[in-house]
Amino acid sequence: MPVEIDMEKCGQIKDCPGEGLCIKICEQGALIEEDGKLVIIPEKCDDCDLCIQNCPNQAISKKS
């Protein structure tokens, strides 16, 4: 099940303390920047959860 982004917590990538760390850490290319915001491509997500673990805004999660 792909991760979910809380857009309120995530905000604009330019404001991210990790400068879009999730995009850099995802080697599947499942997280991309579109118009300054984070977008997920669910079919590319491999559920490794590295983005969840490393998001400085704790904006990424999974439905439990």
Binding site: G18, L21, K24, I25, E27, Q28, D46, D47, C48, D49, L50, I52, Q53, N54, P56
Partner: protein, 334 residues
């Protein structure tokens, strides 16, 4: 760089040394005042962010020194009245270490190549080649037509032809390089070369065995060595001995799924190059694992469990310290 410093009855200071820290989190687990916080391991290890693995909260740190004493990598330096507790008789000492026996070492450099921390330097001085062969060689300048065939064929680059002066070309043999293989003699179209090899047959007795020895030295830099055991494992003559900081084992949580190629967080943080992917799942080679726990901290699936049975530390004099240090041992810590 000093992280925390205070003066009272004693002057105490704690310094974090980023270059020695591997991000294992032993210090953050052991700190009794929760003054240490582990940064984002995987992004730091991958070079995606420039941060320290460990952050020290000056207001919480009680300057007890437990973090410095329990760090197997000496990433914290704790000083009391300017004396490093590493040198202090009242403080615990790690018994883990790595050594190369110079008597046994053949200077093959296998350890230097294998060391994941680039902590080993092997410097060697090769024997003189000319002392290991016996023979004679002579080129008859009168017969020689200076065709250069011998120069081109010589595998040791021992023959030099100089035909700048076309009227009087010169040819010479460097006897320090010549190994008397006789290729030149056989290839010479005009039989101008007289050469003989005596290395086999009785000539061997003219060679001094000491002249055949490769000399050198091997050096392990304690500052970067993590006692992972690669040198010990790879050494063909058992010249390297390593004792590790912990004894125990790594357990994989069966219910957790390794994401392999997609993640490889454990491989990126492992200071020992002990982890590889086999059939898409991470596997830890116990020969090289030091049970530091960095992989367990980095794994987003919580698949890796470190079980330490013994900590190779001595001279723990304080009961409260022993109690705290024992938290690293015997339990299955994440």
């Amino acid at each position: 760089m000093v992280s925390v410093e205070r003066e009272g009855e004693q002057k105490r200071s704690l310094s974090y040394r980023k270059n020695k820290c591997v991000g294992c989190g032993i210090c953050t687990d052991i700190c009794p005042t929760e003054a240490l916080r582990l940064g984002p391991l995987v992004p730091i290890a991958r070079g995606l962010v420039d941060m320290d693995y460990v952050n020290v909260d000056k207001n919480k740190c009680a300057l007890c020194g437990l973090c410095a004493a329990s760090c197997p990598f000496e990433a914290f330096e704790f000083k009391i009245d300017d004396i490093n507790i590493k040198e202090h008789e009242l403080y615990p000492k790690w018994t883990s270490k790595a050594e190369i026996d110079e008597e046994e070492c053949l200077y093959c450099k296998a350890c230097e190549t294998a060391c994941p921390r680039d902590a080993i330097t092997v410097s060697r001085e090769l024997p003189e080649r000319s002392k290991l062969v016996v023979g004679e060689i002579e080129i008859n300048e009168d017969t020689c037509i200076h065709c250069g065939i011998c120069e081109e064929m010589c595998p040791a680059d021992a023959i030099t032809m100089n035909n700048e002066n076309i009227e009087a070309p010169e040819i010479s043999v460097d006897e320090d390089k010549c190994v008397y293989c006789l290729i030149c003699k056989r290839a010479c179209p005009v039989d101008a070369i007289k050469a003989a090899c005596r290395s086999c047959s009785y000539g061997i007795y003219e060679i001094n065995p000491e002249d055949a020895e490769t000399k050198g030295y091997s050096f392990i830099d304690e500052d970067t060595c993590v006692n992972c055991g690669w040198c010990q494992e790879i050494c063909p003559v058992d010249a390297a001995t390593v004792s590790k900081p912990f004894e125990g084992e790594v357990i994989f949580a069966e219910e957790a799924e390794c994401k392999g190629e997609s993640c490889h967080a454990c491989m990126d943080v492992c200071p020992c190059n002990a982890i590889s992917l086999v059939d898409g799942k991470s596997v830890i080679n116990p020969k090289f694992c030091i049970l530091c726990g960095a992989c367990a901290k980095a794994c987003p699936q919580d698949r890796i469990i470190i079980r330490r049975d013994k900590i190779n530390m001595e001279n723990v004099r304080s009961k409260s310290w022993q109690k705290q240090i024992d938290k690293l041992v015997g339990v299955e810590s994440k």
